[in-house]
Amino acid sequence: MDYFLMFISAIFVNNILLAQYLGNCPYLGCSKEKGVSIGMGFAVVFVAVMATAFTFIIQKYILVPYDLGYLQTIVFILVIAGLVQFVEMFLKRMVPPLYKSLGIFLPLITTNCAVLGIAILVQRKEYDFATAVFYSFAAGMGFMLALVLMAGIRERLAIARVPKAFEGTAIGLVMAGLMSLAFFAFKGMIA
């Protein structure tokens, strides 16, 4: 498959957030400020790529040969959690400033359904290893794009007179729905 098309497809057409509705919790939780959203975006890209690479190998050489497919979800989550823990320890030891700026969001990636979603999606689409890793990178970038757009919007939302009942998460969800409507633009662009 053409890598460029795949990149465009993963970012715009099948945006992991706005077209496949995965990873909504960090989308709402980490989009209050642009700096935080960029940090979160990069963290997700990194973890997604690593997790996809590891889970791909595990799936291919352990789960499939021993017929353990039903353990996929739990094993993948375990791998992602272990990876996040590893990344956290590494950053804490080697790059303390980055570790500090990511704060609580780093461990929270463990429960990010976008990361698990990417790892499972590449299995379902039966990509080869290089394509799978590339796809996870592109999907992570798509996640970051949606997050940064949302952060820009929410910085303005903070000064809007939103009805009391809709303040905070509620209006964020409405906004996510409307953005997803706008992203219908790319429907049917690349199969």
Partner: protein
């Protein structure tokens, strides 16, 4: 000013007689000729369509403002304008429930949930159209009426829009239906073609847009950038080979002029700095052509503008104007050794000193 002596007042000192009402009603007036033309081409049904749409928008705005305990401001014409624009982006043959629900969505969800006039992120009429396109896909893509069909038969004759033919059957099939190249372009320019209620006549929309520029309601940046980019891309990528496309064809079909002059220039959802406006227009034009050439829809103006609406806060932030003031005093370098040792009281004291 009646008083010739010096006038002492607090800022702002630049004043203008324009009000929200005057702007909204002027834009509505600039749009009106197209509605008359549409009524003549597609039949009086479109007037009913526009009436339902405007009525729904006005009612919902009033209801939302009353319900939220705000001042009811339907007289300023912004709801009327949204209703008019919503009717303009619908196919003329749709059932009357569509403009009604579109108006409800535009006003209640896209506008008033976000805080009312000036706080919405998406153009209400366009996001309502996107909503209707998802909710009523058949009506929104097939309810076209052939020009002057209502003079003859009692029922509307459905047909296909030029862009639909262009996308699915190629340029040859389109010109076969609409006459030779020059004749077809003339008809498209004058507005005698199937299409949405308010997008048909390039001529009338262009005149309306020029009136808006002349009245200084909009500036030339967004329309010029959007139309220019679209024409350039149509020329480069529109043909069988590179640089053989037909830019004029892509400008006079679809909702290009309606979008460029009346939708993309919406104050609330577009940037305010000239350079940011140019970027916004270029983006809208490029996305339009991307969707027309590569996307799943024959027409992309609506979605292109919605996507640029998404990007608008980021663009606006990137093009902040320079401050014309003394530079802020630099924050004093913090002692690097103890970043966590009670920074709060320290910092506030220093701030206080700095301002003295």
């Amino acid at each position: 000013m009646s008083d010739p002596r010096f006038h002492v007042s607090v800022s702002p000192h630049l004043r203008d007689t324009a009000t929200i009402g005057s702007i909204m009603w002027t834009v509505s007036a600039a749009l009106a000729p197209q509605l008359v033309l549409a009524a003549w081409i597609f039949g009086p049904r479109v007037l009913l369509l526009a009436a339902v749409s405007v009525g729904s928008c006005v009612l919902c705005e009033a209801a939302m403002q009353r319900g939220l305990g705000k001042k009811v401001t339907v007289r300023d014409g912004s709801a009327v304008l949204t209703g008019l624009l919503l009717a303009y982006v619908l196919p003329p043959g749709v059932p009357l429930t569509l403009p009604f629900w579109g108006g409800v969505f535009a006003m209640c969800i896209a506008k008033h949930l976000f805080g009312g006039l000036g706080a919405n992120f998406f153009n209400p009429a366009l996001i309502a159209r996107a909503f209707l396109a998802v909710g009523f896909p058949v009506a929104m893509t097939t309810a076209w009426i052939a020009p002057f069909a209502w003079h003859g038969a009692a029922d509307a004759v459905s047909t296909a829009t030029p862009l639909y033919l262009l996308k699915h059957y190629g340029a040859a099939a389109m010109f076969q239906q609409y006459g030779a190249h020059a004749e077809a372009l003339r008809h498209f320019f004058l507005g005698i073609r199937p299409g949405c209620v308010g997008e048909t006549s390039t001529l009338l929309l262009l005149l309306g847009g020029l009136v808006l520029i002349w009245r200084r309601i909009i500036t030339w940046h967004i329309p010029a950038a959007m139309l220019g980019t679209a024409a350039l891309l149509a020329w480069v990528f529109g043909g069988e080979t590179l640089f053989t496309g037909d830019p004029l064809l892509h400008l006079v079909t679809g909702g290009m002029f309606l979008g460029a002059f009346f939708m993309a220039t919406d104050y609330v959802t577009s940037p305010s700095q000239p350079r940011a406006k140019l970027l916004y227009g270029v983006g809208a034009g490029a996305l339009t052509m991307l969707i027309r050439f590569k996307g799943g829809y024959p027409e992309g103006v609506c979605y292109a503008i919605l996507l640029m609406n998404c990007l608008n806060p980021v663009i606006e932030n990137a093009f902040r104007p320079k401050r014309f003031a003394a530079p802020l005093p630099k924050p004093e370098p913090k002692p690097a050794a103890k970043p966590e040792a009670k920074p709060a009281p320290d910092a506030s004291q220093k701030d206080g000193e700095g301002r003295k």
